[in-house]
């Protein structure tokens, strides 16, 4: 983890360095929430706050897993492929499978994805 600088605790944003109190702008989260479906009508004020934190944990977790892939390849630069590998390797990230394999259409990796629900939905579209 990144070491906190000596001024981190007293500068606005504290140790994490973020400007607002939350990891992501709440208005943006709310916008994304509203677009997620027609039936999303009203959103309580606390929902984006919880989601912002959840999203932060989510990004942290994928990043950790992706970095493990980077290290396996003996590299120090985290690439998109590392993120893709982390997604493919984790069941609960199945909803992201399409997103990371879009550019890999010629890749043999696709064969292994044909039975996942996300991939099936894509084929049916």
């Amino acid at each position: 983890m990144r070491q906190a600088g000596i001024y981190s605790a007293i500068l606005p944003g504290g140790v994490s360095g973020k400007a607002g109190p939350h990891s992501f702008p709440l208005a943006r989260i709310k916008k994304i929430m509203k677009k997620s479906g027609d039936d999303v009508k009203m959103i309580s004020g606390e929902a984006p706050i919880v989601l912002s934190k959840a999203c932060e944990l989510f990004v942290e977790e994928i990043t950790r897993k992706a970095w493990m892939m980077t290290m396996q390849g003996k590299r120090r630069i985290l690439h998109k492929e590392d993120v893709a590998s982390a997604v493919i390797a984790t069941d609960i990230y199945d909803f992201l499978v399409n997103m990371v394999s879009d550019d890999h259409s010629a890749n043999s990796e696709h064969e292994g994805l044909s039975t996942t629900p996300a991939a099936i939905m894509d084929l049916e579209r």
């Binding site: 983890m1 997620s36 990004v59 994928i62 690439h79």
Partner: protein, 148 residues
Amino acid sequence: MVDNTKEGEALNKYYNTSGAGSGFGEDEGVIKEQDRLVPIANVGRIMKQILPPNAKISKEAKETMQECASEFISFVTGEASDKCQKEKRKTVNGDDICWALGSLGFDEYAEPLRRYLNRFRELEGERANQNKTGNKRDGGARELVVDM
């Protein structure tokens, strides 16, 4: 995510907004593509904090993560919204989000976030009390943390 544009796929930057509270873009009928994603700066910052100091992150990796994070929000919201519909409730609240996280397999997050939510509600309650007594001292000094 569904794109409701009438002008066709090529113009997917343009969006007919009929919903309330969309902000500035609504006047011109234009929603920038970026508005459907969380800001890449925030994503990059979180990633950087997790990695060792000498690690680097490619721009593409950040962009991919940006997409994934945004999709995560939609995904969880959809699940929470379904629950509200079934229970005939109109408002998606923090508890629904916590429930959705558990339901979708993010069990590790559900409990800590419930505690986070309860702490948030506590702080809000305290702040409301302060306002009632006319003492508008900033309650921002108290921190909201997640213990995992």
